[in-house]
């Protein structure tokens, strides 16, 4: 009986899942304003924006006024959440209008910071108005 020659094939190597690591950085931009960036990263690149939140110091406590995220609950699309008011700590329904939704996590991250740069004063002003607070005190 003729022997069948075995052909060596390259074995399929399953793709290694790089574990995600949560990172958080706090950046103070003025004595009463700060930005907190929380994201998930693997050994190679940024994977998910858990949140980029803009916070303001009001009456001695840091209050989140707005945050952006693109976690799994939003199917990786970027959304923005505005806090209702100082008195009502709930958030309005997440908004996606006028928000860059698609792109790599890195691009979305950059977009969110750019948006904050252009609008954080407006967001702060509107929040203070909704909360009937005097902006000059903060």
């Amino acid at each position: 009986m003729k022997k069948i020659k075995r052909i060596k094939r390259n074995k399929y190597k399953p793709k290694k899942d790089n574990p995600l690591v949560k990172k958080q950085h706090e950046f103070n931009i003025t004595p009463t304003d700060r930005v907190i960036n929380t994201y998930m990263i693997d050994s190679k690149k940024l994977r998910e924006i858990t949140s980029i939140s803009y916070e303001c110091l009001i009456n001695g406590e840091w209050v989140t006024i707005v945050y952006y995220d693109n976690d799994k609950s939003h199917s990786d699309r970027l959304h923005v959440h505005f806090k209702i008011s100082y008195q009502n700590q709930e958030y309005e329904a997440p908004q996606s209008k006028n928000v860059r939704q698609k792109g790599t996590a890195r691009r979305l991250n950059t977009w969110a910071v750019e948006d904050l740069k252009n609008n954080y004063i407006i967001y702060k002003r509107k929040f203070f108005k909704r909360s009937n607070l005097d902006e000059l005190d903060h």
Binding site: E26, F27, N28, T30, V35, I41, V113, L116, K117
Partner: protein, 82 residues
């Protein structure tokens, strides 16, 4: 310098720093226990304001990291614990 200008200029630097931190494998200072204050390579006025910011944060008992822009493309930021 107004607080508004300080905020906008710092956000500008923050964007650069954030891109750097999220692209490099820097595990130090990423626990959220540290407060970063950025220092520009060129803007001395902003740096003066940010020095005051560091003093204020330290008075609050925070661990502050000064992130100094170097202008060197190979290592664009220098981190110093204040």
């Amino acid at each position: 310098m107004s607080k508004k200008d300080q905020g906008i200029k710092n956000l500008d630097l923050f964007e650069k720093l954030m891109n750097f931190l999220s692209s490099k494998k820097i595990d130090e200072y990423s626990s959220g226990d540290y407060s970063f204050v950025v220092f520009s390579k060129k803007d001395k006025q902003l740096n003066e304001e940010n020095k005051k910011l560091v003093i204020g944060l330290k008075k609050e008992g925070k661990k502050v990291i000064k992130a100094e822009e170097t202008g060197n493309s190979k290592s664009p930021w220098n981190f110093v614990q204040a």
